[in-house]
């Protein structure tokens, strides 16, 4: 009896609650990144290696706009729009010629793009980390911590953006086009839907989502030219664990993995907490390769 009560005393409940909040915050940002990736994969059949770099570019653009205008909101909006246009241009120039070819080609091309963008960022912005200042200064009391409100705001914004896109897909005009294209590309064309432009539009949407996540993450961590690499890897893990092409699955997986990592960080070194996502991936591949959050394994 005594041992059990000792055990319960040893569990740091306050830390767990704090880490739950932290896990949800990063989880929602990761969900936004992964949603863009899943969208692009599900509809264009493109594994977008450059997604992490679009995230990074978005953060830089956001940092620059915030630095010159002082407004976080303007930075967020401008970043999403600029990177969306950039993404569309990228898709038209490098990915359209590859439609119909082996999907391997798109992996290679997007990998090449990611290399170029990374090096461009290093060259243009230098190796020193930049900061995006917190949009709100206020804090609230969470146990013994002064927990910043802006983190809650960022989580809410991520959720709102994801929700917005989901609603648009379901009810918007182009939403029907996008869903039709993803179900049957050929019949969508036969119905007059300009499928090549749907592809461009979806890629632009995915890019905007990545850019927005970058700006939202900015105040949490710094803005550097390598930030894309870590995120793209985690995003890929999330997409595979959530079930490729499954939007709801990606979101669930993102939050699930982020929570697990946050809890692991209580006991482990943060750079080792990353192992959690790897373990989840391996377990998923071993037992439920179509995705942890997919209804019935095929």
């Amino acid at each position: 009896m005594d041992a059990i009560s000792h055990f319960f005393h040893a569990i740091p409940f306050d830390l767990i609650v704090i880490q739950t909040v932290n896990g949800i915050v990063t989880g929602l940002i990761l969900a936004l990144v992964a949603s863009g990736l899943t969208l692009i994969f599900g509809i264009l059949d493109v594994v977008n290696f450059a997604h992490g770099e679009l995230f990074m570019l978005g953060a830089y653009v956001g940092a620059l706009v915030v630095a010159s205008t002082g407004s976080f909101w303007l930075g967020l909006l401008a970043s999403a729009i600029i990177v969306a246009i950039f993404g569309a241009a990228l898709q038209i120039v490098t990915l359209r010629p590859l439609i119909g070819r082996d999907p391997l080609n798109t992996i290679l091309v997007t990998f090449g793009i990611s290399l170029i963008l990374q090096n461009y960022a290093l060259w243009q912005f230098g190796p020193i980390e930049r900061k995006i200042p917190e949009p709100i200064e206020a804090h609230f009391q969470l146990f013994y911590l002064q927990y910043p409100w802006y983190r809650v705001l960022i989580a809410a914004l991520s959720a709102a953006i994801i929700g917005g896109f989901w609603l648009y897909l379901k009810y918007g005009k182009f939403g029907v086009w996008i869903r039709a294209t993803s179900q049957d590309r050929i019949m969508a064309q036969a119905m007059g839907i300009p499928v090549p432009w749907v592809f461009t539009g979806v890629f632009a949407m995915g890019s905007a989502m990545a850019a927005a996540s970058g700006v939202l993450f900015g105040p949490l961590g710094g803005v550097s030219h390598t930030m894309g690499l870590d995120w793209v890897l985690k995003a890929f893990i999330v997409v595979v664990v959530g079930g490729m092409g499954n939007l709801g699955g990606s979101i669930a997986a993102a939050i699930f993995i982020s929570l697990l990592e946050a809890y692991a960080a209580i006991w482990l070194d943060p750079s080792q907490a990353v192992i959690v996502s790897f373990v989840v991936l391996i377990l998923t591949l071993l037992f439920r390769p179509t995705g942890l959050f997919v209804a019935t394994p095929k």
Partner: protein, 333 residues
């Protein structure tokens, strides 16, 4: 006049030399150049050429998977890295540092990684496989990066180069020239082995898997087993490249295990031409030379990957078969 059916096996005019003869003549010419090179080149270029051969071996190992089995892997940095660290381990633990022990440890390390990847390789196809190999190479990276007491963590390991020792026959330090010849010997032997392999019945099955996996399975081949062996062999040669790199440069660093190295490998493959075995070596050479050229023209800080990346992308869109792709059939006969 009787009209005899056109017999395809009788050429209308006999070429001066058979295909085999031409290949071997070409091979000897290239070998002669590569053997003589270190004698004529200054120190920097000697080492440069040796490094091209090492990267070429890595790229060639990956070609077995990509070009012949049709499996794209981004995991080669793990095999390469483990080969490197394995060799490092042998050279640090055993004194005096022994070349053959380094090879043994390195290959064992790479084989371990390859078995791990191979297990999953048979359960996933195409893109899923590619992404998963990438994630696995990152797993190895994280382990190496954080397990500082064993792997030296962020700083890697530094060690001394072993002697080139053939038991009872020879024992002396490596010079950059003998190092080059050693590497050349290993790479050439690897090439000949892989060439033999891809032309054997085993190699034919691999290519059949690349063309149409379902049909190969339907015919009755144990596709899983072939894939596992393919990954293992590919990993072993990649690890061999890692061992050579460790011996050449006397350090092991986690950077090489980062997935970017795998990406570079795939770039060499695509630039040089997949499915040719020598193509990737040419691709590695082309890439390194361009890089050197750009840094000499525009200075060290120049982001050479921007134009090279652009060249890579343009090649995929317009020249997907790579530099040597046109010779693919010919090289594989």
């Amino acid at each position: 006049m009787t009209t005899a059916p056109l017999d395809k096996s009788v050429p209308l005019s006999k070429p001066l030399l058979s295909h085999t003869a031409v290949f071997w003549i070409g091979f000897c010419v290239v070998m002669a150049i590569l053997i003589a090179a270190p004698l004529a080149l200054p120190e920097f270029w000697r080492r440069f050429l040796t490094e091209i051969l090492i990267w070429g071996l890595l790229a060639m190992s990956s070609d077995l998977l990509i070009g012949y089995t049709g499996m794209v892997s981004f995991g080669h940095s793990a095999f390469f890295g483990l080969g490197m660290y394995g060799a490092a381990g042998a050279l640090l633990i055993h004194s005096p540092p022994n070349l053959w022990l380094a090879l043994l440890f390195g290959l064992a390390g790479a084989a371990g990684a390859a078995l791990f990847v191979a297990y999953f390789s048979t359960r996933l196809r195409d893109i899923y496989f590619a992404i998963t190999t990438l994630i696995f190479s990152q797993i190895f990276y994280v382990i190496i990066f954080t397990w500082t007491p064993v792997t030296g963590g962020e700083n890697g390991l530094i060690f001394t180069r072993p002697h080139l020792s053939i038991p009872f026959l020879y024992d002396a330090r490596f010079t950059s020239t003998t190092m080059h010849w050693f590497v050349l010997a290993v790479v050439t032997a690897s090439y000949l082995f892989l060439r033999r392999l891809t032309q054997s019945p085993f190699g034919m099955v691999l290519q059949s898997i690349r063309e149409n996996e379902a049909r190969t399975r339907a015919i009755g081949f144990a596709v899983k087993r072939y894939k596992i062996v393919s990954v293992l062999l590919s990993g072993l040669f990649a690890g061999l490249a890692g061992v050579l790199y460790a011996i050449q440069n006397q350090f092991a660093a986690p950077d090489f295990v980062y997935f970017i190295t795998s990406g570079d490998t795939v770039i060499f493959n695509v630039m040089g031409g997949v499915g040719t075995l020598v193509g990737p070596i040419v691709g590695a050479g082309f890439f390194q030379l361009m890089r050197e050229l750009l840094s000499r023209l525009f200075g060290d800080q120049f982001p050479y990957l921007i134009p090279l990346g652009a060249v890579f992308i343009v090649m995929i869109i317009f020249l997907p078969q790579g530099l040597l792709g046109f010779a693919r059939r010919w090289l594989n006969r």
